[in-house]
Symmetry: C2
Subunit: 457 residues, 2 copies
């Protein structure tokens, strides 16, 4: 269906666009708008759609496209657009525009809207307060069901969620919640108190958004109440915001582990400009590249060893790479377990003990496989290299190097993220690059040292 | 608060446990139960909690703990437990027990429950049908609001979601939905038709669960209707199931990219047994380890080059590692964009063109940095190595090797996942391991070939 938008736009067929906009989901409309390259195309879309319709699209647009989209409207239409946005989306949009635009847009709002928006703008974008909606239903426990429904009626269109209605005391503290279904089916004179359920979880407005989203997921919540330091109800994080946050955080974790720096771009991969991609990727490439010279330096120190038995080069990349692989596996497991809230600081010893045993098992399996390969296949595959080679000693050297490297790398991979968190560094950012470097250098040293030991070179 | 459970259990204080079970969220209770090591502790928990209370806990337990938990109850209690489960959780639980247990549990159900459960069991666990709930509200458009509410009243406690009530035609096809809030606030004689909204998205029961979850996220849905091939409404995927699915899939993607095989374990990192960890990790370690010998083999072929200018070893690990890093970055970006639904097959050329330019920019930056390092620092840091070395040629050799390696690896990293998907392989499983191997071998060849070219060795 979104395919019919392009021809309608090309032929400047306003009524066809309006009809399609009615049928399509605003997320698809936003995608379509974001993919438009032509300035006049965007202008025609904006001029055709009412500010109210466009408000839904605006909330779904990548941050960087928002300002220019808003500025295609005249102030009166901008006012309409801003009023149609939910409070959390309005704040989100205002956080993405320049200061002048923000100021001029704030002036368009009604006193009440402006006050609310300015309060919300004070919270950092990545906190529960910065992501919450304030358009929630709230009632007091002494109301009857009928009175509660009457109070909520005027929120019918504006509230972001009414499935959970919070019950507050006289100081606005959340003491429970009711499900809309219980209000809808209870007899009208039942007091709210009788159908109220416990609020088991709340979150501080200053808490990290990821913490809020994790609670929503863990406890299967529709809306998690957000409170201030005095436990007064400010708003709620809804399930759809939580889903968005969790996806963003997963993407960021993956990117960080691959050495991609900075904030995840809200624009799609294809829309993101090359220079933005470059800026996010080249930094770690440079750092890691120059750190890898350390590995080469170690190799140079062992020139005599390699020169006297050049066959050692055959398994050198294997030992180094296996360290990287096993360290990477352990780090991925531990980092993910930490971000799913499974691991606490007190579990460090347990992790270390688990990975030590696992590393030894892996090291033995890999070491024995390599030993078998050396003894059985080497004489067949590279018969020339056997001249003057003490095959049993050579086998012992390379396979024990592999075993040691695997044990060491597994431990390093598991413990570095824990260590990083202990000193308040982001495990995903620090661990992956550090692991590669450490494991490469240590692998090089282990390899040549065992060779010296067993081969006497 | 969960901290108070342990002492209560230790002193076998049943009433304290019951009181705490009332206060705590079932997700926390499930965590507590899963962490118990002692068989008698588990038994006491199960015997203390009613089957109805335990049903919520059971649904949150790791798959592998479910059967033994159920078998702690007598058949009459098992019946109670199973009836208290929502239909999708019941199916989920039955999928995780042995065949005999499944058969005997099915016999405990009422005819109606049994029939429904058997129908749902036919869908694969990882499809929309396998994850959907069938306890949803459905009404017809000719009903009045009053009649609709009366029909829905008996679902008040059993339905998993009533916030969205689906409107079906005489052949059970979804033609729209109503929000519970609109039912609650509309006048009682309004026809449902008048407050009905369009259903814009449905999903086939046989579709992959990830596709369903992605739609729920993209379109901010509370419940996505699931239909059969004749477009009849079967059930819905709710937002909380979608969130669970998305988290599972993100974890699996991360693990696959790190070369961790098989299904994500539902048990926490710490609870997962060592042999399970081992089985998931050691396979790729062996495969990748032995593939890395190819790299060593290339190195052996170039023995004369390395022997005549051993200083080449200084930058060899850097060139190899940088290829791995840049390939990994490109692959991570592309794989994530694919799993977020941003990239289609037709975008392949655009990706290739983008990454080619990006690779060239990165290659130039890295190559020039390395050239500057060689020319300026090498004579200072390793003066001895300058004897007989043609520094400009050496610089040209290593820095052009780095540039070529970066361009090649960026392209390989971006295109391999796309290629893997084109031949229906999982990009995350195939791409990451293949990239490491290919990039290591090609890096080795590029490095020594440029050395031969520019240094005449």
């Amino acid at each position: 269906m979104p395919d019919r938008l392009a021809p309608a736009l090309e032929s400047r067929d306003g009524s066809a666009i309006l009809a399609l906009a009615e049928e399509l989901h605003y997320a698809d409309l936003a995608n379509f708008y974001a993919e438009l390259d032509d300035d006049e195309d965007r202008d025609f879309m904006v001029q055709t759609l009412s500010p109210t319709t466009f408000s839904d699209i605006l909330a779904e647009l990548p941050d960087s496209l928002r300002e220019e989209a808003i500025n295609r409207y005249k102030p009166a239409q901008q006012r309409e657009l801003l009023s149609a946005l939910t409070d959390d989306d309005r704040v989100d949009v205002l956080q993405d525009v320049s200061e002048e635009t923000q100021d001029s847009l704030l002036e368009l709002l009604s006193t009440e809207e402006k006050e609310l928006t300015e309060t919300l703008l004070k919270y950092d974008e990545e906190t529960a307060g910065g992501r919450m909606t304030t358009s929630i239903g709230r009632v007091t426990e002494t109301l009857t069901v009928k009175a509660a429904l009457d109070e909520l009626r005027n929120l019918q269109d504006s509230a972001e969620t009414l499935s959970r209605i919070f019950v507050v005391d006289e100081r606005e503290r959340p003491i429970g919640f009711v499900r809309l279904r219980d209000l809808a089916f209870a007899s009208r004179d039942t007091p709210v108190r009788d159908i109220m359920l416990d609020v088991k979880e709340t979150i501080l407005a200053t808490a990290d958004q990821e913490e809020a989203a994790t609670m929503v997921r863990k406890y299967d919540l529709l809306a998690l109440p957000v409170v201030d330091e005095s436990n007064r109800l400010l708003g709620a994080i809804t399930y759809d915001d939580a889903m968005e946050i969790l996806e963003e955080e997963s993407t960021e974790d993956m990117e960080k582990q691959a050495g991609i720096a900075g904030e995840q771009s809200e624009e799609s991969y294809l829309r993101t400009r090359i220079l933005v991609h470059l800026r996010r990727r080249v930094g770690w490439l440079l750092v890691l590249g120059f750190l890898a010279i350390a590995s080469g330096y170690v190799m140079i120190q062992f020139e005599p060893v390699l020169n006297s038995i050049f066959l050692l080069a055959l398994f050198l990349p294997m030992v180094i790479a296996t360290g990287g692989n096993t360290g990477g596996q352990a780090a991925t497991m531990v980092i993910r377990a930490m971000s799913l809230g499974e691991l606490e600081a007190k579990d460090s010893w347990q992790v270390a003990w688990k990975e030590l045993r696992l590393g030894m098992l892996q090291g033995l399996i890999l070491g024995l496989s390599l030993a078998a390969t050396c003894l059985l296949l080497l004489p067949l595959l590279l018969p020339d290299s056997m001249v003057g080679l003490n095959l049993p000693h050579f086998t012992l050297a390379v396979s024990s190097a592999l075993t040691i490297q695997v044990v060491a790398s597994t431990l390093i991979g598991a413990l570095l993220p824990i260590g990083a968190r202990a000193i308040k560094l982001d495990p995903a950012v620090i661990a992956a690059p550090a692991i590669t470097t450490i494991v490469d250098v240590s692998g090089m040293m282990i390899y040549f040292t065992t060779a010296r030991l067993f081969l006497g070179v």
